[in-house]
């Protein structure tokens, strides 16, 4: 009886305690503070593993941090492929073509600038409405090595250069370059161009941006036999241009006129017999401090110079020898910025189902780039996807895929973390 009474008391106490806990007023918590409307993030300095990726559909370049997989921001261009020009003061310059009514109306070409720490346009320089529009992410605009002048390739189809004075932010003038196309930086006030007969044109400017010298070199290749691709890379004072047949043409721009070394081959006789070729949209990249050259290679016939690559072949530029081979994965498929990837957590071999499915499509690697820091990343992209595949550029180990938010990843620029030329 006593036991029963004690149990009742304990039960009653328990009910009281529970009720007090359940129905007691909640401790006072501070309200969330009202937040300001209209705030826009500034752009912090891009890290060494930040890359700009061109989207041919959305006509923009997106800034992507490969370490955090974050899209940091974007810059819109106009008709044609958007590609940035990066000066040492942290500015970005974008040559653009617009129409007053979208795809029709009055055409206007400008160079728009973006200051450091901002992706808001800070100004624009009108240029002649002649800017060349083609499918190349490189070779259509170039800086003089002193960052003073920007040269923009024009094609109407008559060829010329528009020179922009970046210091005065004004159009300096137009230089006729009949028979010669594209443009590459080649010194403090010099530019290099390709001519249709296999020669190079050397254009030198004065302090006002006028041409004081135009020198046409001897032919250094035969475009009828083995054309040199326009898709070159620069290390110091040397440009490296691959040919359709896999020869590397080195152009030294350190002297008063360009000089050309004897070309050397990316492929051995056996590899050539097996039809290994360089190909793609951006098939060459260089890590400048280590002197490693990365070439996008595939097996294909004589007209396959734009075909996507299966492997990245790595060369030591000093020895002109291949030192490594990186088997590439498909960069992956996205739609509206969403990865289509599936099955990574599944049991083997089902975890490789996505890679297998991608390997059955020609959704291959069209472009590659390498960051310029001491722990470089090799970045590969497809012109049909908004996904990048990332590798350790030194070991070749595949790391991960990164979504850029782009519909396509047509060109990749890695201007941070090391020498830009």
């Amino acid at each position: 009886m006593r036991h029963t009474c004690g149990a009742r008391i304990i039960g009653l106490l328990a009910i009281v305690v529970c009720a007090s806990v359940l129905f007691a007023p909640a401790p006072a918590r501070a309200d969330l503070a009202a937040e300001p409307i209209g705030r826009v993030e500034p752009l912090s300095a891009p890290g060494p593993h930040s890359v700009w990726v061109s989207d041919g559909v959305n006509e923009r370049i997106a800034l992507v941090d490969l370490d955090t997989d974050d899209m940091r921001g974007m810059v819109d261009g106009g008709w044609g492929i958007t590609a940035g020009v990066f000066t040492a003061d942290g500015r970005i310059w974008i040559p653009e073509t617009h129409y007053s009514r979208g795809s029709r109306g009055q055409r206007s070409d400008v160079v728009t600038s973006y200051g450091p720490g901002s992706l808001t346009p800070e100004g624009e320089v009108p240029i002649p409405a002649k800017r060349a529009i083609n499918v190349l992410p490189v070779g259509n605009a170039a800086l003089s090595d002193d960052d003073r002048f920007l040269a923009i390739f024009n094609m109407t189809p008559a060829t010329s250069l528009s020179i922009v004075d970046l210091e005065r932010r004004s159009f300096a003038g137009e230089i006729e370059t009949p028979g010669c196309s594209l443009v590459y930086g080649a010194g403090a006030r010099r530019f290099l161009m390709f001519c249709g007969d296999g020669a190079a044109l050397w254009v030198e400017l004065d302090d006002e941006g006028n041409a004081i010298r135009k020198i046409r070199s001897e032919r250094f290749f035969d475009p009828q036999v083995d054309p040199v691709m326009e898709k070159g890379v620069r290390r110091g004072t040397t440009w490296y241009f691959p040919s359709f047949e896999g020869l590397i043409h080195e152009v030294d721009v350190s002297g008063p006129v360009p000089t050309f070394s004897e070309p050397w081959s990316l492929v051995s006789d056996g590899e050539r017999a097996a039809e290994w070729r360089i190909g793609g949209r951006m098939p060459l990249a260089v890590h400048r401090s280590s002197g490693r050259l990365y070439a996008l290679m595939h097996q294909g016939g004589p007209h396959s110079h734009k075909d996507p690559g299966r492997e990245a072949w790595v060369y030591d530029l000093e020895r002109r020898e291949r030192v490594d081979t990186i088997e590439l994965r498909n960069p992956g498929l996205t739609y509206l910025g969403v990865s289509m990837e599936f099955g990574q957590g599944w049991l083997w071999p089902f975890s490789r189902l996505y890679d297998w499915a991608l390997s059955m499509t020609p959704l291959g690697v069209a472009s590659l780039a390498v960051t310029q820091d001491d722990e470089p990343l090799l970045v590969t992209g497809s012109e049909f996807s908004g996904s990048l595949a990332i590798y350790d550029a030194r070991s070749g180990q595949y790391l991960r895929r990164v979504i850029t938010g782009n519909m396509t990843n047509l060109g990749i620029q890695a201007p941070y973390g090391g020498a830009t030329r």
């Binding site: 029709r104 083609n134 499509t361 049909f384």
Partner: protein
């Protein structure tokens, strides 16, 4: 799945602003194995057609202007005007044909002759997004304009906005293509 993939690829292609990229995406997404079959299926679905004089059988890929394998398209890099409201010899309504372009040389299997083909672009409306073809025979870099299909040949009065490409016979090739 095929229908979804086709829808995705066409949606992408409709939004493209550069010649080529998403047309190839469409071709890629539809699946490598299926691609060679499509022109055949399309040609069969079109029913019996009379061959044009001197042209291959239109029910064969080499004779079907809506097929990338059509004999005139040996050097093409772009959307077929014939899939976009035009024909292989004329541009879609409302566009304007570029006055300048590059020329290739293609072999006509019907008469065994080589012909000079002019790949004039159709301009002024956004990229068609249908029937992208990229064969690149005899294509050369941009510094060799008369042989380069990487150039957007929409320029001058026609404006720079690329829509699609035609393949027009200029005549019999009388000398080696150089």
């Amino acid at each position: 799945m095929d229908r979804w993939v086709t829808h995705v690829s066409r949606s992408l292609a409709r939004r493209t602003s550069r010649r080529g990229f998403l047309g190839r995406l469409g071709a890629a997404l539809v699946g490598g194995a299926a691609v060679p079959l499509l022109p055949v299926a399309r040609a069969q679905a079109a029913g019996a057609r009379e061959p044009a004089p001197g042209e291959p059988d239109p029910t064969s890929p080499a004779g079907d202007p809506n097929s990338c394998e059509y004999w005139r398209y040996c050097g093409i890099d772009g959307f077929l005007a014939s899939c976009c409201g035009g024909t292989h010899r004329s541009c879609p309504p409302g566009t304007e044909m570029s006055a300048v372009t590059w020329v290739g040389t293609c072999h006509n299997p019907e008469d065994g002759k080589d012909y000079v083909i002019s790949y004039n672009d159709c301009c002024g409306k956004s990229p068609c997004g249908k029937c992208f073809c990229n064969r690149n025979e005899d294509d050369k870099p941009i510094y060799y304009p008369s042989k380069s299909n990487d150039i957007n040949w929409c320029m001058g009065r026609a404006g720079v906005v690329y829509n699609s490409t035609t393949a027009i016979v200029l005549g019999v090739a009388t000398e080696p293509d150089r």
